[in-house]
């Protein structure tokens, strides 16, 4: 019994245009030292899935840089390992139409899926933030003799949830009875789709060939909903911390979530299931005399001379003397000059804030400063 993984790297790019101008959703920096895809990749590796394809489409140079040979996830393999699956662009067919939906993305890699020898395929979005033992879903999938098992998280759903959140309804035995979109729905505890699922590979190939023949483009509506009573689809209910990133506000909030010990613990402190990321060989962070830091998360490689409160500092951030950083997210190599004051600011990589600048967003609308900007 073997399992291969497939990760979608671009599906949700439109959700956070502020951060995906030059990169995929998968390669958005998150939580001081990670990129979003690190969660999906680490979950795969920690569940002994060592054959992972990443479906890409555009803007994937930064993703390729992040992954490199795959060594940092122990995925630099001769057989299996990690493979970038670029869009198929042929010089002769002139075919330039690029996929928009998951189903279209999967149709583009049918050959790859056919060539695999694995029994099961785990499909996973790149923006899921959780530490999940996928082997449990697979065991559940096998035990229930499912064609498809969707991981769900019971959540209190309110009307204005992100439009791409799906609610899964199931019977007492966990068999899926309906798949719904939120805006139509009343408030209350519901099982929401984590966008992590297990397919029996032969079944996946079958529905993909159907989809090609009939020119289907939506997995849920064109295929799953139609077959929901005929085929065996099950849920797997996940209990741990789970969130995904549907907007820049989500991005801000879920970074700040990490200041909560329990959430940090559920994500990063699980025995035998660490979250891996690219190694950057930063030295430990140096605090000098007179620095003051409270309730903050700080990566290696920083130099802290000023004051930092309720903030998330990525690798190589420098906070100069008398600077005061509050409620902010400073990505890799941000430099805050002397006497800088920041409140509710998100700086992308390599931003320079000149001496004395005062910038402030609001918790409901953080101020995003683009990559390489000098302010």
């Amino acid at each position: 019994m073997t399992v291969a993984g497939v990760i979608f790297s671009n599906i949700h790019d439109d959700n956070i245009p502020e951060l995906t101008k030059m990169r995929t959703m998968a390669s958005i920096p998150f939580g001081c030292r990670y990129r979003l895809i690190d969660f999906a990749l680490s979950n795969m590796v920690n569940s002994e899935i060592y054959n992972v394809g990443v479906i890409t489409h555009y803007n994937y140079q930064s993703l390729m840089d992040h992954i490199g040979t795959g060594k940092d996830w122990d995925l630099a393999r001769r057989t299996g390992g990690i493979r970038i699956l670029p869009p198929f662009i042929s010089a002769y067919t002139g075919e330039q139409k690029l996929y928009v939906t998951r189903l279209e993305a999967l149709k583009g890699i049918v050959n790859y899926l056919q060539y695999l020898k694995d029994d099961y395929i785990v499909l996973c979005d790149c923006d899921i933030i959780c530490n999940i033992d996928l082997s449990k879903i697979i065991d559940h999938h096998i035990k229930t003799k499912s064609n498809l098992t969707i991981a769900v998280k019971q959540t209190y759903v309110v009307g204005d949830m992100a439009a791409d959140t799906q609610i899964i309804e199931s019977d007492d035995e966990g068999r899926i009875t309906d798949i719904l979109s939120t805006p139509l729905y009343e408030n209350g505890y519901k099982d929401i789709n984590m966008n992590v699922c297990v397919f029996t590979r032969t079944y996946l190939l079958k529905i993909l060939s159907d989809a090609v023949v009939h020119n289907y483009s939506n997995l849920t509506f064109d295929i799953l909903k139609k077959n929901i009573h005929k085929e065996r689809y099950h849920i797997y209910r996940y209990e741990g911390y789970f969130t995904k990133i549907s907007s820049i506000m989500d991005y801000y909030d879920h970074n700040m979530d990490l200041l909560d010990f329990n959430i940090r613990n559920e994500l990063f402190n699980v025995k035998n299931r660490p979250i891996y990321t690219k190694v950057r060989n930063s030295p430990p962070t140096r605090y000098v005399e007179g620095s003051s830091v409270m309730n903050s998360l700080i990566a290696d490689g920083c130099i802290i001379e000023g004051t930092v409160e309720n903030s998330i500092l990525f690798r190589g951030v420098k906070v100069n003397k008398n600077a005061v950083i509050k409620n902010s997210i400073l990505m890799q190599d941000t430099l805050c000059g002397d006497r800088v004051e920041l409140n509710c600011v998100i700086t992308d990589k390599n931003v320079v804030i000149r001496d004395g600048r005062v910038l402030s967003g609001h918790e409901s609308l953080p101020f995003v400063i683009g990559k390489n900007s000098i302010v």
Binding site: N281, Y287, N295, I298
Partner: protein, 412 residues
């Protein structure tokens, strides 16, 4: 396959007995340093940063941790198909089974490794110094001088000189005399234990030395004097940067402290010469709302809720609220429980300092660095006096006194 211009041989065999408890189960080059490093990271990173991609690591004493740490060399980008880093342990040949008998003998037994890459030059390095150095510049000087051997030297004070191998040189830096730990040093140029040899000469003197039954098979004591005596061209190469022998508890502590400050004596943050090390998958460090951190190095995986002053903390250290760590080096995975105080100490990895413990004394008044061995669990409210070396035997006392305490409790 292509030849290599230069191959490095890194002597990592030292037991390092002056580091006491820290080297009971690991070789000295594997001792933790500077938060996320081990001593061997420094010479290894120097090699990589100098473009030397073939390194033999000679080891026989407690090599397990070192073997595992180095692994296939991947963290240093030395997992090469051709070259890279290789651990060289003693072995049995059809007629012979020898442990290494000295530094020179260790290299002699591994001449086959050098020959395989057929380099023009061989660097011999020791695995117990902290420094960043461009070996390439030294190699260029060696070539320019047409030297047979070049020894890196550093200026030391005349008082310290008797602890080192001391070189006398002429105006061209050609070496005229070599004194091993002289009582009356003739110069203040100390050997750093970093050598460049032209390969053929090295081979010649190693073979001669092997046949000499009176030799102690040591580079400093035998090979260099023999080469000088035979009139070979030996040059010194002056190094001006930071260099520190971390062979004692005190010097190890000092070297850690040299990483601190607004402008540290030894700057790890220079991006041009990054020190490479094996990184573990630790989350960012968290600083709590009541934490105080001043003049310290904090590594990923730490949770700081207490006070940390003038200290170096390795990955995964927890300092609970009310606890105080001052003038200390805390190695990976330690927990300093509530209200414990650690002062002027080195705490080895995975140690638990129970709540209310007092380890060491304020540096100003202390009589010495306190040391707590790997993996111990100090029960609550223990007092470790300054200069104490806490190992398993020492722990028995605590347990005894603890029992007495519980008796007292019971009595109450």
């Amino acid at each position: 396959m292509r030849n290599k211009e230069c191959v490095a041989m890194l002597l990592a065999g030292g037991q390092g007995s002056r580091l006491y408890l820290l080297t009971q189960q690991i070789a000295k080059p594997a001792v933790s340093f500077g938060g996320k490093y081990r001593i061997i990271d420094f010479p290894l990173s120097n090699c990589v940063n100098s473009g030397i991609d073939t390194v033999g690591v000679l080891t026989q004493y407690q090599p397990l941790m070192l073997n595992e740490y180095i692994g296939n060399g991947q963290p240093w980008d030395l997992d090469r198909t051709y070259g890279g880093v290789k651990i060289l342990q003693p072995y049995q040949a059809s007629k012979r089974a020898d442990w290494y008998k000295g530094t020179a003998n260790a290299i002699f037994q591994n001449l086959h490794f050098i020959d395989k890459y057929d380099p023009e030059y061989v660097m011999v390095l020791s695995g117990d110094h902290i420094y960043k150095m461009d070996y390439r510049a030294m190699l260029d000087a060696h070539k320019k001088n047409g030297a047979d051997c070049t020894i890196a030297v550093i200026e030391v004070s005349i008082e310290e000189a008797s602890r080192f191998g001391i070189l006398s040189v002429d105006s061209n830096l050609e070496i005229t005399e070599f004194q091993e730990k002289p009582q009356k040093p003739k110069s203040t140029l100390a050997s750093m234990g970093v050598y460049v040899f032209s390969k053929e000469k090295l081979k010649k003197y190693l073979i001669m030395d092997d046949e000499n039954e009176n030799s102690s098979k040591d580079f400093g004591k035998d090979i260099i004097p023999a080469m000088l005596g035979a009139g070979e061209r030996l040059f010194a190469y002056k190094f001006n940067g930071y260099w520190k022998d971390v062979g004692t508890i005190d010097s190890l502590w000092e070297a850690n402290m040299d990483l601190l400050g607004n402008i540290p004596n030894f700057n790890l943050h220079d991006p041009r010469s990054r020190v490479l090390s094996r990184n573990y998958a630790e989350p960012p460090h968290y600083v709590g709302s009541d934490a105080v951190i001043s003049n310290s190095l904090i590594t990923e995986g730490c949770e700081i809720k207490g006070t940390v002053i003038n200290s170096v903390l390795s990955e995964g250290v927890t300092v609970e609220s009310g606890a105080v760590v001052k003038d200390s080096v805390i190695m990976s995975g330690c927990t300093i429980q509530k209200n414990a105080v650690v002062n002027y100490s080195i705490i080895d990895s995975n140690t638990e300092i129970g709540s209310g413990c007092v380890v060491g004394e304020a540096r100003e008044t202390s009589q010495g660095i306190s040391l707590v061995k790997h993996g111990l669990k100090l029960p609550c409210d223990c007092v470790v006096p300054p200069g104490a070396m806490v190992d398993d035997d020492y722990m028995l006392k605590f347990e005894k006194c603890n029992k007495d305490d519980s008796k007292k409790e019971a009595v109450k």
